[in-house]
């Protein structure tokens, strides 16, 4: 816009604007947030694309993620090494997918990843149980948890392998009217 900033080149900002759901201002603001997570680690000058990652523990200390029961899985799903270390690109990507204007298909892909605790591309019974326990803070009794998992798999499983593939998951998502608004983090 009008301000002269030296964090990114114009080309970089354009690229970010085209590839994510953020505007230039928001990208700069995100960089500020990223920087304040680890000020001595993150350089202020990103023009030569430094290879800097922030560990999981620092990312989940952000107020937007701090109380979320799925915070670890969210960060792991967007990290390249799978261990939760986010580069700035990953950071922006994460909030872009979780932003308001991201389309349903994209969100469904990442939601599936988040709920897939053992990363085997299926939502099996153990994944569901872990999800439920995180959702309810372990308030349900084990029998109730088992029952809920069985019923959920029974409802959503289309190919009959007693676990949910991405196709099953996506099919279920299309029937949920408020998925887009709940799978959304405001930053």
């Amino acid at each position: 816009m009008g301000n002269k900033q030296t964090i990114f080149t114009d080309e970089q900002l354009d690229a970010y604007q085209d590839c994510t759901f953020f505007t230039r201002k928001e990208i700069l603001r995100l960089h500020g947030r990223y920087h304040e997570l680890a000020p001595h680690l993150v350089p202020m000058d990103y023009t030569n694309e430094p290879d800097v990652t922030i560990p999981l523990a620092l990312i989940v200390s952000m107020p937007e993620l701090n109380e979320n029961p799925f915070r670890n899985r969210i960060v792991e799903s967007f990290s390249e090494d799978g261990a939760g270390n986010l580069s700035f690109n990953d950071f922006v990507d994460m909030f872009s997918v979780l932003s308001e204007t991201a389309p349903r298909e994209l969100k469904a892909i990442y939601a599936f990843k988040i709920y897939d605790f053992n990363v085997d591309n299926f939502l099996c019974k153990e994944d569901l149980e872990k999800t439920l326990n995180k959702l309810t803070r372990e308030e349900l009794s084990p029998e109730e948890v088992t029952l809920v998992c069985e019923k959920a798999i029974e409802e959503a499983d289309l190919d009959g392998d007693s676990k949910l593939s991405f196709a099953d998951f996506e099919n279920m998502i299309t029937r949920a009217p408020d998925f887009l608004s709940t799978f959304h983090i405001r930053i």
């Binding site: 354009d14 690109n89 959702l135 803070r137 998925f179």
Partner: protein
């Protein structure tokens, strides 16, 4: 979003990939490709509009033909891809194993090409970590490609890039944004695709004013919605109650809120058109010397009887906006109109119209909300696939405060338990023939007690009115004693006692009946309470309108409407007082009793049926009284506000969620329809 709609190849690819990972031979054939979960998602990038998709598909199929292995399948693939199958057909085809197996390697290669070529160029450090990492592309791929493959990949990539270039700019951007690749990948792709436009964002050249405006409006709109939703009354408290006690109890409190809104509406309209003009131009008449005792507030007599509260106060003529209103009291003929130059406000007409219109609008709103909640409850009732949706889509990721997160957790837990109980309840239907006799007994007890109660009230009311007539004849000089005033409270007191005790009896009876499902028990309870209230109100109406209105002079009344208004006012107040007493002593003491004496470990459960019918009864009285007492909605508003907070505290302290949670999806419907039919139509017919 046109781009997101018709990607026909996707289901094929996804299914292949799933079967692919278990298929070792296919893996080997792909020159050491590390099969990633992400590779499937790279295929997502081919979300194109129909024409470009076909073009791409045809190119892909060209490539396939070049491969040596499985040429037969390639022909099949071509067939599959070139014809314009509909999405559903493709889905069905993709689920047939014979069709899908052959295509894996082909399409896999192409997608891999597109990705690996980039990393071959840039990344020297290659982790051989082929583990199922989270991110698609970049570091997870094993890179053992030889130069031949590289060339092939390069060409493929170039083709893909060309395809992207052939799309319109908006589509390109949308496609880029929607692909589940990592950001670095996307940036590189973008650089290649849009190399002719380097240095310029695609969007910046195309952002016209109107889209900026749209964005601004969007933000404003969401801001407004947010403010509106935060203004909703008692939002936080309701969330807490719903989370802890279930949707049944929540529906009761929602009902209180609904009633409150109705009454506020009534009060505003009446106040604006009726009370305010009259208050500004009070009628001049000799004020009788009443002793001001505190009892006036309860009985509505004394100085209140000649105030704005009651019908008798309102002038039976037109008010002029000049200084001298006519002052003829009710009961005599109409006053004269005055100078036509001044604005005339016809009070009787205003009275009729205002009240008529409020009734009309209330009726419309009631019917509308009833139909809406019927529709909603049917939809909820029909969709059976709720459990999975509740597990995966109900957590709101926006919530970040600790308390809110805990509340949300509680809410979801309760909802899941309710859903579970519905599932289980549907499976435990048992027939009980032996209970028939018990049911008959229970019904006869409840109906009999209702009948006797009504009869008792009828006799008592007759006695009271007879007595008051006699007494009026006795002290004809107009001196009223405090005792006499207090006697006026006797009838309301008796009625409220009946209202209090009989639901307890009904509870006992239904405990004896021992229903299996809590919903049936609730409905039966509601029905019995409803019968009780209807019969009591019927008797009272008969008395007021049948006896008193017909012969007011016999009862020594100057203005029967005022008297009825006062009666209703008294009823409302006494009812409220008894409710308070019951809540404080009844629920609290019962809890102590049950925990101390009966040694039950659980606190008592909130009795929804009784409380809801109390509310409906109160609202019926208000509607009945509206004609005679325009300010009655104000009393009702105060009462509801106090009731809400009182019941809430009592609930939190004394009660506990019932063991069998059930979903109250049709509760609000039921309450509103109960409100509408007996309660509203009754007074409106008068």
């Amino acid at each position: 979003m046109a781009y997101s709609v018709d990607f026909n190849l996707r289901p094929i690819m996804e299914l292949e990939l799933e079967s692919l990972r278990g298929d070792d031979t296919a893996q080997d054939s792909m020159t050491g490709t590390g099969l990633e979960s992400g590779s499937r998602e790279t295929l997502e990038m081919e979300v194109l509009t129909t024409e470009s998709r076909d073009r791409l598909a045809s190119q892909m199929s060209d490539v396939r033909e070049r491969a040596d292995e499985r040429s037969e399948e390639s022909i099949q693939t071509n067939l599959l891809v070139r014809k314009r199958w509909s999405t559903t057909t493709l889905r069905v085809l993709s689920s047939m194993p014979s069709r899908s197996i052959g295509q894996q390697s082909r399409l896999e290669i192409i997608s891999q090409c597109n990705i690996r070529s980039t990393q071959l160029r840039r990344y020297h450090r290659q982790t051989q970590d082929v583990s199922l990492s989270s991110r698609p592309s970049i570091r997870g791929y094993g890179i053992e490609a030889d130069s031949e493959d590289v060339c092939e990949e390069e060409t493929k990539r170039q083709e893909l890039v060309n395809n992207l270039q052939s799309l319109s700019a908006g589509d390109r951007v949308r496609m880029l944004r929607a692909t589940p690749l990592s950001l670095a990948e996307k940036t590189k792709l973008r650089k290649l695709v849009f190399s002719d436009k380097v240095g310029q964002s695609l969007l910046s050249s195309q952002v016209p004013c109107c889209s900026l405006l749209k964005r601004a409006l969007y933000h404003i709109w969401f801001g407004c919605l947010f403010i509106l939703s935060s203004l909703q009354l008692w939002q936080v408290a309701l969330k807490r109650l719903g989370g802890r006690f279930g949707t049944g109890v929540l529906s009761y409190f929602l009902f209180i809120r609904t009633l409150l809104l109705f009454n506020v509406f009534l009060f505003l309209i009446n106040g604006l058109f009726l009370v305010l003009p009259q208050a500004i131009h009070p009628p001049l008449h000799t004020p009788s010397s009443h002793r001001v005792t505190g009892l006036e507030l309860f009985t509505g007599t004394g100085y209140l009887s000649n105030s704005l509260m009651f019908y008798g106060y309102y002038t039976n003529s037109t008010i002029n906006t000049s200084c001298r209103p006519d002052e003829i009291t009710a009961g005599t003929g109409c006053g004269t109109t005055s100078d036509p130059h001044m604005m005339a406000y016809n009070i009787p007409l205003a009275y009729c119209f205002t009240i008529g219109i409020t009734f009309f609008i209330t009726g419309i709103v009631l019917v509308y909300s009833m139909s809406k909640s019927f529709g909603r409850s049917f939809r909820v009732f029909k969709s059976q696939g709720n459990m999975a949706i509740k597990v995966f889509c109900s957590w709101d990721f926006k919530v970040s405060k600790k308390m809110s997160v805990r509340m949300q957790s509680e809410n979801i837990t309760t909802q899941l338990k309710e859903l579970l109980s519905e599932v289980k309840g549907g499976e435990e239907e048992k027939g009980r023939l032996s209970g028939m006799a018990v049911h008959l007994l229970a019904w006869s007890i409840s109906l009999g007690s209702t009948f006797f109660c009504a009869l008792g009230i009828h006799c008592f009311a007759k006695y009271m009115h007879l007595n008051s007539t006699l007494r009026r004849h006795e002290d004809a000089e107009g001196e009223v004693s405090v005792v006499h005033e207090a006697r006026l409270l006797a009838l309301p007191g008796v009625v409220s006692c009946g209202n209090l005790l009989l639901p307890g009896l009904f509870n006992l009876v239904s405990w004896m009946e021992n229903f299996n499902s809590p919903i049936v028990r609730l409905y039966v309870s509601i029905f019995r309470n409803l019968l009780l209230k209807v019969s009591i109100l019927g008797v009272l109406c008969y008395h007021w309108l049948g006896k008193i209105a017909a012969e007011p002079e016999q009862h020594g009344l100057q203005c029967w409407e005022s008297f009825v208004g006062q009666e209703l006012y008294r009823f409302l107040l006494v009812d409220f007082i008894f409710t308070v007493l019951y809540t404080v002593f009844g629920e609290f003491l019962w809890k102590r009793f049950s925990q101390g004496v009966l040694r039950r470990r659980r606190k008592p459960v909130f009795d929804i049926a009784r409380n809801v019918l109390e509310l409906i009864y109160g609202q019926t009285l208000t509607w009945l009284g509206l004609l005679f007492t325009p300010l009655l909605p104000a009393v009702q508003i105060l009462k509801l506000l106090l009731l809400f907070h009182m019941k809430k505290s009592s609930l939190l302290v004394n009660c506990q969620a019932s063991r069998k949670l059930w979903r109250a999806s049709q509760m609000s419907t039921l309450f509103i329809s109960l409100l509408c039919f007996p309660s509203f139509l009754g007074p409106s017919c008068l």
